[in-house]
Symmetry: C2
Subunit: 238 residues, 2 copies
């Protein structure tokens, strides 16, 4: 990096958050309604400026706490997506934005946002035209999460601390938009060392009808070997 050949053009640096969760069998994303120009009245991703003493990761986790209203966001999955830096992405000034994807198990209340006019969980499919380049950001987030489900244990990040294999399967089916065979899914997950571990007590839970399911916790593994594939089977609707 050569510092002294160019003037240091001033950039504003922000973070944008694609906060994803699964609710009622559909992928949802957290959106806020913009109160001011540009894009006043449009929906956008939550986010904000990186403070002078913060890294982008720190800023993202701070914003995540502020925007979700959750008191403890330390256990949530938060990962950097990529940085969006087109010169004209903000009409007013040069803004470089580091985008993050965050995964929540149970969506908290839409909360009366601190600094946003309104905030809401919106089904991913209906997250209409958003402000700035945020449509692209949520598309990238969806693609990244879908891909990582195949070869990592990321799916458990959408689940509460204890979950059934049915719930875990629904994560895959919802994000990928296809149906999976239940016995085969079970066999595969249980055959992957460290993916999930059964909660030892006779702990069971019923979501309502049907045979009660055993509860599992996320295991120590982080990668799936071999991966869980989505291609071979064409989707009957999930």
């Amino acid at each position: 990096m050569e510092y002294d050949k160019y003037a240091h053009e001033p950039f504003a640096v922000t973070v944008d958050l694609a906060v994803l969760t699964i609710s009622a069998g559909a992928l949802h994303v957290l959106l806020v309604e913009r109160g001011q120009e540009p894009y006043a009245g449009h929906w956008a991703l939550p986010g904000g400026f990186v403070h002078p003493d913060e890294s982008a990761e720190t800023a993202a986790r701070r914003e995540l706490a502020e925007e979700t209203g959750l008191s403890d966001v330390s256990g949530l999955h938060l990962e950097q997506l990529r940085t969006y830096s087109e010169p004209d992405r903000d009409p007013r000034m040069r803004v470089v934005s580091v985008a993050f994807a965050a995964l929540l198990p149970d969506p908290p209340e839409p909360y009366g946002g601190s600094d946003a006019a309104d905030a809401r969980w919106v089904p991913y499919e209906k997250a209409g035209p958003l402000a700035f380049d945020h449509d692209r950001i949520i598309a990238d987030a969806h693609e990244r999460v879908g891909a990582k489900l195949e070869y990592t244990c990321l799916a458990t990040a959408f689940c509460p601390p204890e979950f059934t294999l049915g719930e875990l399967q629904q994560v895959y089916e919802t994000v990928w938009g296809i149906a999976l065979d239940r016995p085969n899914f079970r066999r595969k997950v249980l055959a992957t060392p460290g993916f999930v571990e059964q909660v030892p007590g006779a702990a069971r839970l019923t979501g309502g009808r049907g045979k009660p399911a055993a509860l599992y916790r996320a295991g120590p593994a982080t990668a799936l070997q071999p991966p869980l594939l989505r291609a071979p089977r064409e989707g009957r609707p999930a």
Copy 2:
């Protein structure tokens, strides 16, 4: 993003490039020697400031052309890695750096750098302590590239337009640091639709000894399904 609650702290935005190539059976990374403080005399990744009218991608490709001396970098694989934004990563000022990985087939001459004191291809393993957080960046680049070899067709980005399956296999072996079984590798690659396509003419090429090999080109596929796995086999040295 709320613009008016915080002062817009000025950030400098740079790009850093992890330019990787395979040479003499080893992964190499392009390094430049810093001419000035901080870290004067240390080796670092090539990079530079993002200009006011550029995106980070544009800046990265411009720097790639400048630093490699290649006249046409449009066909090269260049992908954003992640953004490094720790407040203290540069001792002088607040610098946010967008890191990229670039993959080259044949390394051009080390060239007499334009603005760098010196530039050199260094074996990845010997790329000693680098300036700033650049050790971490090349480690992240190596990890990302290694992972993407498994489930994408990225390996061809290390190869010239026409290559033998032996050369392609060496990409995997070099990046992963393990040996692969040649007949099985061949079977797998040829069974993946769109990964490679044979150059139709009786085109053949000999690197020296042995039976001449058929030449292949990169095919239209971008993803490998199913992936090529590296785990099951423990590496005899590649």
